[in-house]
């Protein structure tokens, strides 16, 4: 395991951006030389869910407005952290009320899955921006 320089990715809030985010994650994870696939899959799952949530929220609230978001990936020996920042409207969400959808539901699992996969998930509105902080212990 190793630390690495933080990696920052800036993308438009489009569905295609999720593939870009995931490809960047793949490359970044390789630099960590961490073969713990459980941590990798849990962190990657949460990152994809939060990226999809940001894109879906931005498009629903603001349409194809040209908004974007950034992702910063960082690692220490103790944990890996991802910080998503976007300048869209407030996400208006209370993470303490999120529950996993019933097994016959076709949607409503994204945030619950992110919470289950991570050691911590935090959402704040900071200076007119939405900031999501995802942490997995290593």
């Amino acid at each position: 395991m190793s630390e690495s320089a933080p990696r920052v990715v800036i993308v438009p809030a489009t569905l295609e951006s999720i593939d870009v985010v995931q490809a960047e994650f793949d490359e970044w994870w390789t630099t960590l030389a961490d073969d713990n696939m459980k941590t990798r899959f849990a962190f990657e799952t949460a990152i994809v869910e939060i990226a999809a949530n940001i894109v879906e929220h931005t498009q629903r609230v603001e349409g194809q407005s040209g908004r974007g978001y950034s992702l910063e990936l960082a690692a220490t020996d103790a944990e890996v952290t991802a910080i998503f920042t976007d300048n869209g409207k407030p996400a208006d969400i209370d993470l303490s009320t999120v529950t996993m959808a019933d097994i016959d539901e076709e949607s409503g699992r994204g945030l619950a899955l992110a919470i289950a996969a991570l050691d911590s998930l935090d959402y704040r509105r900071v200076g007119g921006r939405n900031v999501w902080t995802l942490v997995c212990k290593r």
Partner: protein
Amino acid sequence: MTSIDVLIADAGGVVITPSGRLTVVTAPQLRTVVAEQIALGHRLIVVDLSSTEFVDSSGLGALVSCLKSARQAGGDLRIVAPTEQVAMVLKMTNLDRILQPRASVADALRD
């Protein structure tokens, strides 16, 4: 996702193999392919997940939707050989209760 392969099995049923990532970007393709096969009269839908590297909540939602469609048509949908990440999210979401993985395509095609 790079592709979704469709193979009509000799024993009856159809084997659908999504390769790569099954996410919000690509999940609609799986719904379309499964709907087409049900419309063609296939009742046993086998989704071979051995080449599916990654599934997100939209991909899971598509699998639930396809399972419901198959059952409403009087058939069934069975999944095969999920990879490590896919097995992890099936368990985290409790969907392994309704989408119980079979070890092989041959197992899934047998009653």
